[in-house]
Symmetry: C2
Subunit: 158 residues, 2 copies
Amino acid sequence: MTQTFFSRLQPGMRLELGSYTFEAEAIKTFARQFDPQPFHLDETAAEQSHFGRLCASGWHCCAVFMKLYVRNGETALREAMGWTGAMPDRGPSPGFRDLKWLRPTYAGDTLAYRSTLLAARASQSRPGWGLMQSEIEATNQNDESVMRFVSTVFISTR
Amino acid sequence: MTQTFFSRLQPGMRLELGSYTFEAEAIKTFARQFDPQPFHLDETAAEQSHFGRLCASGWHCCAVFMKLYVRNGETALREAMGWTGAMPDRGPSPGFRDLKWLRPTYAGDTLAYRSTLLAARASQSRPGWGLMQSEIEATNQNDESVMRFVSTVFISTR
């Protein structure tokens, strides 16, 4: 009997999505476009702020999650499941829950991102589709948790 | 008797944060950096996807909220409250709840962002500080809701 990809999803499965070092220039470039607050734009201004040092926009930390997820998510999922078949269709993400920025990400910090599967269940509203719910976490080089949220994506159950 | 800024916050208060048109080039530039999926990168590939047309990364829609909030939030808040005094200190955002991407944002769409104050309460853990909880919503040029989330920020009660 052939098992579907969906039926093989195991809550607790953990995927390492890779890491990214937030260099000062990248922090400032993102901030100039999307979050031009002094502590994301300029070292001296950051020293005078409650952060004390140049640090990345929380949205920059989110965007880097997406970058790593797109680049490494499928490979990590295949490896964790020992899956070599075709990947099931995936739908759009309806959103996320409970995003927490727990600590600043300072210039030079390296964040490692991982995803832990919380649940996989059939969708009530879309036959043939299931919902994968995962906790996403980023930790810095001191193994401190800096960001956490719960992500949901649609995935084919076929 | 002088009222503090914090004590004058009224749930239901609505702030218009401005609008932004998602041009195809900006959608692709964001996607190349942070969300390189075919339907965010290329018109032809997008036509063959479940979206049907080039559309913006959900994280791009979030980042543009931040851009408009930084640019226009303070002015909108002053106007809504009739406040001409000094602005209270604001702390970092501890995070967001319940982000929903309700509809795609297609190339050429213009999103208008607004914030509605849900609650303002004193912080239990940080004396002298309060928490402002707001619903953020973006609607497109057809007045359809495309994104919604609940934001929380620390603000001085003094």
